[in-house]
Symmetry: C2
Subunit: 451 residues, 2 copies
């Protein structure tokens, strides 16, 4: 299908670029979209055709593309300095951001360690936890528990707490010896309960794991409320309340991976803050710069930080670094974005949008292939099934999601389903009307492909 002339731009892409999480052979038949510019909710290709960025460019964008305030913040910092190293040196954008994050998260979290992406924010938490136990006389506490379906990034440390075969299988033999735990499954609750009214009866599996393995466990890691890569699987806060209680009882660190759900996605600034939960570590990235630049932060409890203080010769320090840690340009954009999230009207304006997403319930459950329509704040998803009665999924090889994605592109939607799950995670500035139109258009795509 590709023009074979060497100057054809798509040939330049396919000849040199290896895209992430992509079967590159697909691109021979279906070249990637070539996006030239972006504005607000929309991406524009070379021919000027627009696509609604339904998934916020991998869940990162909050305020839309090309936002004047964020552009201005970036430019102002650029006129001072793009970057400077962050050991032996500090700078205003990083200190401002650290102070804000500490102020906006639960009071036990007092220290901010910067890195570049979600994976590294997790690696930092895992390493801090391991070193903490080693420096407090319990080096045998060196394993982590994680949930089935959990996803925390793809560097080998982060992969070792991944509960999805798709990501970890080719590398299984070299990963840390951690413990996978059956977590909540509200789509097919084995207890026959409803998330609105249950008491996370399913927590018994984790409870048992923690009790039986407390002496070898450094920590437990979870994606609070929404397991993103697993297909926007959602579960209620009561599970997290039980988890933090059990972690405290068993002396096990709790690591909240809010890389995907942080910065307003669930309807509060952070899940931990909205639900009044105090994890030992909080990992943030993605929305932190509202989709402008790579940046991540790991927040740690004061009691952890204290264990790393000492004389130089004690070598108690936390040795971890990335060259561009706390990049001033990224921090400057993050500060402006955080300011916008804190403005009075922001969360007020979000609530009718969250209501607009509730409208998807009727729209999708009418379809003969909708196993469930679910929603947490500004994240909504429709899980497609072959058979509504048995909830039997479409086989992955059928690539139902891919066909719907293609249909979406024709109609100007950039959807990118997760297998059989069509989900909506748009920039938070989307209007109620745009949400309604998006849901209808997506419904029509599903119908066009499956009818």
């Amino acid at each position: 299908m590709l023009d074979s002339s060497p100057n054809n731009d798509f040939n330049r892409d396919i000849n040199y670029v290896w895209h992430p999480c992509t079967q590159m052979k697909d691109h021979e038949a279906y070249p990637p979209l070539w996006i030239e510019k972006a504005n607000g909710l929309y991406l524009y290709d070379k021919e000027g055709k627009s696509y609604l960025d339904v998934i916020s460019s991998w869940w990162v964008n909050l305020f839309g593309h090309n936002h004047p305030r964020l552009n201005k913040a970036l430019n102002e910092q650029l006129s001072k300095m793009a970057h400077v190293m962050f050991a032996g040196i500090t700078h205003t954008p990083a200190v401002d951001l650290a102070e804000s994050l500490v102020g906006l998260t639960p009071e036990n979290l007092t220290r901010v360690f910067f890195s570049d992406n979600g994976s590294t924010s997790i690696e930092v938490a895992l390493k801090m936890s391991l070193q903490y136990w080693s420096q407090t006389g319990q080096p045998q506490k060196a394993r982590f528990a994680y949930l089935k379906g959990g996803y925390h990034g793809e560097t080998l440390g982060a992969l070792s707490v991944c509960g999805m075969d798709l990501f970890r299988k080719p590398f299984d033999s070299v990963l840390m010896n951690n413990i996978e735990v059956e977590g909540p499954d509200c789509f097919k609750c084995p207890y026959g309960l409803k998330p609105e009214s249950c008491s996370a009866e399913c927590f018994e599996v984790m409870e048992r794991t923690l009790t039986q393995n407390a002496s070898s466990l450094a920590g437990v890691i979870v994606e609070p409320l929404v397991q993103g890569a697993a297909g926007m699987k959602m579960y209620p806060p009561v599970y997290l309340e039980k988890l933090l209680e059990a972690c405290e009882a068993q002396q096990v660190h709790s690591i909240f991976d809010e890389v995907a759900v942080g910065f307003g996605r669930t309807g509060t600034l952070f899940v931990c803050e909205g639900c009044n939960l105090k994890p030992t570590f909080l990992c943030l990235s993605k929305g932190i710069t509202s989709g402008y630049l790579p940046l991540a932060a790991t927040l740690a409890e004061e009691s952890v930080y204290q264990v790393f203080l000492g004389d130089y010769a004690s070598f108690k320090l936390f040795i971890h670094s990335h060259s561009y840690s706390a990049n001033p340009l990224a921090c400057a954009v993050a500060n402006e974005s955080l300011k916008m999230l804190q403005e009075e009207e922001f969360f007020n304006k979000l609530s009718p949008k969250i209501d607009a997403f509730k409208g998807g319930e009727t729209l999708f459950t009418e379809l003969p292939w909708c196993g469930e329509y679910r929603q947490t704040g500004m994240i909504a998803a429709c899980e497609l099934v072959q058979d509504k009665a048995t909830l039997q999924p479409f086989p992955l090889e059928k690539r139902v999601g891919f066909a719907i994605y293609q249909e979406g592109l024709k109609r100007g939607l950039f959807l990118r389903p997760l297998g059989n799950v069509i989900y909506f995670l748009p920039p938070l500035i989307i209007s109620e009307n745009e949400i309604r139109r998006l849901l209808e258009e997506a419904r029509d795509c599903i119908r066009a492909v499956l009818a």
Copy 2:
């Protein structure tokens, strides 16, 4: 020593920020420099005092701070779009950069996979290598060999090929079971040879390792010519020639980590290209954006790429991603920086600078504490010893390097020694005169502290 008023800025730093690779207790007595702006070779603190950025802000900056051409490239891209996801989508800055990198590196390297930092560029190479062997029927090839003193980043996968206890020790129990190999030690050559004239007789250890472990080895990883974190330890290209020959003979992948040495530092654009060597993987970061923004690239051989192509249902694809992969702003700056590196006069102008560094030889070897002055291109280092005859090092607890660092700050130099090694890795735009002044000033710092 700190002003205890809550509005004192240094208190804000010490209260909220956890700096990388820093014993934070040190900052109570010695607060970090608070850098407000940067221009050319210099960093400026809040009082306007300037510091020469001797180590290019952790080896990243090539063309100085606040460079009009790089600022302009960033701004132009910002006016189109800051970022868009890189799966299912492509864009001009990334495709241009991938094409340039493929054109400027050895011909066997044909594919570019983007990530965010040096660590992730290594993780990508390790994972590609593991999956390659698994998909070609040799899943038992799942270990890596690495050099003593080698440093390749600090995520847990990258740490598992680290040959320095300082970085890996607290995490040793959870790291992959890899093989550490005694590498070249030209400072104290056990064969009594000189790097200018030897034939890398020390390669025999690696040769034996490869021969004996070929069936379980996926790859070997090295920092070509200069082991940075180990203290700018240098060795001749003949070691690398022998390595690539042995890797081919034993069917083991070779991974060149040019994160620190790439983009002109050694006097050629890349070591592999300058020495006409063809590794299986090439990892790049740091200088890629000339010190502006986090970005990394892993280049892979065509034969590797081909093994990942197939139908979707074969699941042969390389599943790895970071949200901000191929960030357009970072790629745009990288493209402009690469253009500047390719301009005719650039490498011509570098050669008198490299000569100016040669002047350090006389300057430092005159000192009674200089065990060796060494240089590779635009990287030079003076290794301090207690006793010149026996080359006995100063004990680390004495913190000789730290005292020289403090002395440097007084004199407007930001040095940041590696233990007993005082090194020079300035932006490549430094002039011959500035090099001479820098070397003299650093010599005086050493004298002031040790005399």
